[in-house]
Symmetry: C2
């Protein structure tokens, strides 16, 4: 029996967080109530605002509460290089591990016909348009080294060539079958630095 219906509701609601089961959810709820009410209230406010206001950058599809994300709006990023990633997680990993100063394009997925993810769902028309604008010289393809990531990379390389842009891919060194998100920084930085021209 639970002492408080609202507490039971909080514990249940916390389980929407990844990796949080019943026991962790209970520990989180008690921790917030016993010791972190102010920070818990702040988290609730920020979370509500984020869920409502964060959409996608109209240029690179990354998360943004503005029409253009901070990266696309920045005047200090190199506009000759465009790096394509599957998701914001991989973008964050590359930003944190490498000295990359170019632009990004976030697929928000990978080509996966069985899941109904085709070129349209990944915003590839927008990417094709950017490749055709003549500003980009290199397309760094940083999809995950999985079967679907490889197929996506192959497709993207064709798009690049059709737009007269040189496609490159991260050097192997990233463990095969792994997810970029979990690679240690130095391996990721090495693979990024040693990217190969696809031909």
């Amino acid at each position: 029996m639970n002492s408080s219906p609202l507490l039971a509701e909080l514990i249940e609601a916390l389980r929407c967080l990844p990796g949080v089961g019943g026991k962790s959810a209970q520990r989180m709820a008690f921790h917030l109530l016993e010791r972190e009410r102010e920070r818990g209230s702040r988290l609730a406010r920020v979370m509500a605002e984020a869920m409502e206001k964060i959409g996608h950058c109209e240029r690179c599809r990354n998360f943004s509460e503005q029409p253009l994300c901070t990266l696309c709006a920045s005047s200090s990023r190199d506009r000759q290089v465009l790096c394509v990633v599957e998701s914001p997680t991989e973008l964050a990993a590359i930003e944190q591990a490498t000295g990359y100063r170019g632009q990004y394009f976030v697929l928000m997925g990978r080509l996966s016909p069985l899941d109904g993810l085709g070129p349209e769902e990944l915003g590839l028309a927008k990417l094709t348009q950017r490749l055709g604008e003549g500003e980009i010289e290199e397309l760094i393809i940083a999809t995950n080294p999985t079967v679907e990531g490889d197929a996506t990379a192959h497709y993207l390389a064709q798009l690049a060539r059709a737009g007269g842009v040189r496609p490159t891919r991260l050097a192997y060194g990233v463990p095969l079958g792994g997810e970029l998100e979990y690679v240690d920084r130095s391996t990721l930085a090495h693979a990024f630095g040693g990217r190969q021209i696809l031909d």
Copy 2:
């Protein structure tokens, strides 16, 4: 560089959750934004309400958004037995592991003079009053088997005897120096069933 100031704020705010560092916070934020917006918004609402409305039951000091918690308000709980625990975490563990049907008293701490926690902070005047009402026959002392938990148990046993109430404590079987919260259910159930009269 982060794509969104609001996203950066959400990642930072998530770190108030116990056991959540920078990398988990980032993963949680991306997960909510990519896949769980509705549940994330609901979590935010429930969390805001819980931080604001959940106080303490005026009878047992457990968390409650009502003056009396569900357990104290229930007519189906045995009023002859009172179990004292340090925190709602231990209460939840006992409720989930044992068939206990009595009442509870939650200290919200343990006697710890160095941390400024004395009888007043633990609400012991309220406990003494309940012990003196004549309804309670047994006081089950389920403080943690730590130095401070043992000292608290000793103090509570004296209060019980002074009120003419039989004090008992969980049987050993709970690992010494451990925290009730982490004990497996069957060990805890066994220790609870085999509680000893203190004399």
